[in-house]
């Protein structure tokens, strides 16, 4: 069974069909790319997958479970985590606290225990702290644990966003233009981070990207969106060789 199965997804804003008859099937462990010109509807697809927008039609299944009408929070708990095109870290919080926010719903103690620092409070907070540090170590951010997220260099902010998403323990990770605004060195490091996430966590990843070097370098499969519709779908090499795709990108 596929990890993510999307059928006939549609959404309109006013008269505009932003996403029309979108289909995608992603197998467990795949690294899948979603590409297309600006305004093609890529981020809208991400917003539909994470429950930020509700589709007019269509069905989204994660691991066989229908998540189409669920709330953002429920979808996250079901196992979808994401990053954002324009980084949306909690900038006034330290690096480690950003990861802890991602861990928040996975660890439980009551508010009263929290106020009084009693009961499970100490034990669970220690577990949260340990788990956060473990994640920061994986992403090589442990030396920055107390730095405010806003003060991190750009590349590390991107990395922290991925670490925070991973903290929610997802089955599927959505990366929205992770290489946007990066220099070639940072992009190279990002590719290593993505490879790390795959090997270490066995993660299934869907990413939106414009950087063709990155896309052709790491994605196994691609879907090309143009004007809200799927233009082409399949193995990366075949898709990139498709004349229609070249036309859409370079203009006819």
């Amino acid at each position: 069974m596929a990890l993510l199965e999307v059928n006939n997804l549609c959404i309109s804003f006013g008269g505009l069909r932003a996403v029309d008859d979108f289909n995608i099937t992603i197998e467990k462990g795949e690294l899948y790319g979603l590409i297309g010109p600006n305004g093609a509807g890529k981020t809208t697809v991400f917003n539909l997958l994470t429950g930020v927008y509700k589709p007019n039609e269509g069905i989204i299944r994660l691991d066989g479970e229908d998540i189409t009408r669920k709330s953002t929070i429920e979808i996250n708990h079901a196992g979808v985590a994401r990053t954002f095109q324009n980084i949306r870290l909690f900038k006034n919080m330290p690096v480690i606290d950003n990861v802890k926010v991602g861990l928040n719903e996975r660890f439980k103690y009551s508010t009263l225990e929290g106020i009084l620092h009693l009961g499970k409070y100490r034990k669970v907070e220690k577990e949260i702290d340990d788990e956060a540090m473990r994640l920061l170590k994986v992403f090589d951010l442990d030396s920055e644990r107390d730095t405010l997220a806003a003060n991190l260099p750009y590349g590390k902010q991107r990395k922290l966003e991925i670490a925070r998403a991973m903290a929610t323990n997802p089955k599927l990770l959505l990366l929205d233009e992770p290489a946007a605004g990066m220099n070639p060195n940072e992009t190279k490091e990002l590719m290593e981070t993505i490879a790390l996430v795959r090997s270490k966590f066995d993660m299934t990843i869907l990413l939106i990207e414009h950087d063709m070097k990155l896309v052709s370098g790491i994605c196994e499969k691609l879907t090309v969106l143009n004007f809200g519709r799927v233009l082409c779908q399949g193995e990366t090499k075949e898709v990139l060789a498709n004349p229609e795709v070249i036309t859409a990108y370079l203009g006819g």
Binding site: T50, V52, S71, T72, I73, N76, H77, A81, R82, F84, R88, L89, F90, K91, N92, M93, D97, K100, V101, G102, N104, E105, F107, Y109, T111, G114, I115, H117, Y121, V124, E125, I128, R164, A165, A167, T168
Partner: protein, 294 residues
């Protein structure tokens, strides 16, 4: 010596403002809304203590506990019924106007139940206080308790927000509701908890306020509520230490200007200071100065 006495009584009044301001500032900082009914939660708390203590022949401790519980429930209910449905509203004015409506609603319900006549409130603090320097300096028990309670509240609130997962969720929601939801944080529940804590603080403030100024009417909470709002803005709304500093400052200025300048002008002076501070530092004393990138 008398200056010291006035300063201490200013600190005491300021501590009450500070506890109320903490409620304002928390709700504003996290839910991004001004709960103008906050002052009336204080009044509700006072009436509950008044009624319960009356029924139990002066056992005010039970009264305070009941008031804290009922005010917490009132805060949760108000948030759920009146504010939550408007959270997605196009204009933030909708929820602001609703808050004013809730304020009038509570005042009029109190008027209906308890009538307009001023009730005399028996102080919940029975301690006489301390005397220093051969009786020249007397500090009342209620003054000492008020100051200590406000410091304790500040401390507990700060550690709760900084050191617990619920507090962290609050900070995350304060910064970016959308991103917090996408990280699995239950935004509605977090905002509800904020209201619950803010309302519990209102009940505590009520007990202290009516102990220091023992007259109770349906409008008891209105003026302290507005002044605490001023204190929160003065300190930098959204900032917890700011609310404390703003509250203390306001209390001291009010008492000193009442004593040395004019008791009629004291409110004018208090609000005048607000205007001046906002002209010089629009974000308040501890508020973050947000620099717009060009």
């Amino acid at each position: 010596m008398s200056f010291l006495t006035y300063l201490i009584s200013g600190l005491s009044l300021g501590s009450i403002y500070a506890i109320i301001a903490l409620g304002y500032t928390m709700v504003y900082g996290i839910a991004k809304m001004l709960n103008f009914a906050h002052g009336d939660f204080i009044m509700v708390g006072c009436y509950i203590i008044f009624s319960v203590s009356g029924a139990l022949a002066g056992n005010s401790l039970v009264g305070i506990v009941v008031a804290i519980i009922l005010c917490t429930l009132l805060g949760i209910t108000t948030e759920f019924v009146a504010y939550r449905p408007l959270r997605g509203a196009a204009s933030p004015l909708a929820v602001l106007i609703t808050a004013i409506g809730v304020s009038y609603f509570l005042e009029n319900v109190a008027l209906l139940i308890f009538g307009a006549d001023i009730k005399s409130f028996t102080s919940v603090i029975k301690w006489e206080g301390l005397t220093f320097a051969d009786g020249q300096l007397r500090i009342q028990g209620v003054t000492i308790v008020t100051i200590l309670v406000s410091l304790l509240v500040l401390l507990v609130l700060q550690t709760f927000i900084k050191r617990t997962k619920q507090g962290q969720a609050m900070l995350a929601v304060a910064e970016d509701k959308g991103a917090a939801a996408l990280m699995g944080i239950n935004v509605n529940q977090t905002i509800m908890l904020t209201f619950a804590i803010g309302s519990a603080l209102a009940a505590i403030a009520g007990a202290l306020l009516c102990s220091a100024y023992p007259s109770l009417s349906p409008y008891t909470g209105a003026m302290p509520g507005i002044k605490a709002f001023v204190a929160a803005v003065l300190g930098g709304i959204g900032s917890i230490p700011g609310a404390m500093i703003g509250g203390l400052l306001l209390g001291i200025v009010e008492i000193l200007s009442k004593t040395y300048i004019s008791s009629q002008l004291s409110d004018a002076i208090v609000f005048g200071i607000l205007v001046i501070v906002l002209l010089v530092r629009p974000t308040g004393i501890l508020g973050k100065v947000i620099q717009e990138k060009v």
